[in-house]
């Protein structure tokens, strides 16, 4: 079932999701020690609302008991992704089967149709690992007639758009720097993903290259893909055939209604290797039930505000990105705390006075030092952070 090509009514989707959810719960209890224990005492659900009664799970569960969540024998696992997890020295490992990866490719193919036309060429600015994001995206693009090249993260030595690339896919800060450094490139579309995306970064890139800029929200736990815009500035269409999203109050853990901001919680519906039920993503966002201009009546992800852990801090990377990355004169910056002071490296050096003024306007009392540097402090697919 493809959420982008069949506009089922919201009610029809809810029926599908309830059936898929009950199958997924039964499958997980049959095949995983962790879920058998965690879900003991919970039978089939009679409505999607009853999902809220199931226990939440978190990154800590994956770190400590991830292997017990796996429902397949090791020889049926096609790919494991290991991730560093904030607040833990141990890594999170996520298991995927061939079928899981195939459904991610289907989602990417459906989503990329919003941005690409057959015959176009795409450059993917993510690392090129076996069965990783770049590889799955390349397969998806090939299915819709778009040739793709995994060019790796944007490098400070090569701040120009690869020759012949029509569509660019990468991290917001990196593609933004590319747009500022190579404004004359003939880019037809941009997809931003893999980190917090300030709204004004989308506007800046779209204005410079005169092209649509769409955003995608996904995490490894969601099977890499989760939600994507169909037009600039709109709410993101969720991968409803594969995922149920809830928004909870991060303090009370109560489910919040459409429009309320809270922590994004995901439940997988068809994951074969490592299903997740009510997984706390640690990201803050909101859902919308408004009908999309494209005709879809299904709930969408209105926006993602950033990581809960970051947002708790008064000075956090998301706020700094909003301040610095909305300006045309700053190509990039990195920031680190130096005692109580914020040390900001700015590229190019000529933008330091503007950066100083912008920070002082937002945080007049914050001691800060500025220096030259700051190009691509975070590389690859690592999320930006204050060092």
């Amino acid at each position: 079932m493809n959420p982008f090509e069949q506009f089922l009514s919201a009610e029809q989707y809810r029926e599908y999701q309830l059936e898929a959810l009950n199958e997924a719960l039964a499958y997980a209890k049959r095949n995983s020690r962790f879920w058998r224990e965690r879900l003991s005492g919970f039978g089939a659900l009679r409505s999607l609302e009853e999902l809220a009664a199931l226990p939440l799970c978190s990154a800590r569960d994956i770190i400590e008991r991830g292997a017990a969540m796996v429902c397949l024998p090791q020889n049926a696992v096609a790919r494991i992704v290991s991730l560093e997890s904030s607040g833990s020295a141990r890594r999170k490992r996520l298991w995927f089967s061939d079928g899981d990866l195939e459904r991610t490719v289907e989602f990417f193919a459906a989503g990329m149709k919003y941005l690409c036309l057959g015959g176009e060429r795409a450059a993917i600015f993510f690392p090129d690992n076996e069965n990783g994001v770049s590889s799955l995206l390349s397969q998806a693009l090939a299915r819709i007639g778009v040739s793709a090249e995994a060019v790796g993260p944007v490098s400070a030595d090569a701040l120009s758009v690869p020759a012949g690339a029509d569509i660019l896919i990468g991290l917001p800060a990196q593609l933004r720097a590319l747009a500022l450094a190579d404004p004359g490139a003939k880019v037809k579309g941009v997809l931003l993903s893999a980190d917090y995306i300030p709204r004004r970064v989308c506007e800046l890139i779209g204005r410079i290259w005169c092209c649509p800029v769409l955003t995608h929200y996904g995490l490894t736990e969601s099977g890499l893909g989760c939600a994507v815009q169909c037009s600039p500035g709109s709410a993101m269409h969720i991968r409803h055939d594969e995922l149920i999203l809830e928004i909870i109050d991060p303090g009370t853990c109560q489910v919040l209604p459409f429009g309320s901001e809270g922590e994004i919680v995901i439940t997988t519906l068809r994951r074969e290797a490592m299903p997740l039920f009510r997984y706390r993503t640690g990201d803050i966002g909101a859902l919308s039930a408004d009908k999309c201009s494209c005709g879809s009546e299904l709930p969408r992800l209105s926006y993602v505000k950033g990581r809960a852990e970051e947002l708790k801090k008064k000075i956090n990377i998301h706020i700094l990105d909003d301040i610095f990355l909305s300006r045309d004169d700053i190509i990039d910056y990195t920031a680190r705390m130096d005692g109580a002071a914020l040390a900001v490296s700015v590229f190019p050096e000529s933008a330091i006075p503007a950066a100083r003024a912008a920070l002082a306007a937002a945080f007049p009392a914050l001691p800060a030092r500025f220096e030259a540097g700051g190009l691509f402090g975070s590389t690859g697919v690592l999320k930006r952070r204050i060092f």
Partner: protein, 64 residues
Amino acid sequence: MDNNTEWKCMKCGERLVPRKVVFDYMGRSFSEDFPCCPKCGLVLVPPEMAEGRMADVEQMLEDK
């Protein structure tokens, strides 16, 4: 596992001898000496290796 333990292959009854073994994972290859059955090729991966260095290397390669 005690280094002096003498392991035998249950199927062949042969004493395991150190041999160079090549491991492939995520498009990379590694080789290391492991106790192997000289007849059927069975490889014994000691637990401290499986849960230690091999697990570390696996996770380093498992980027998305």
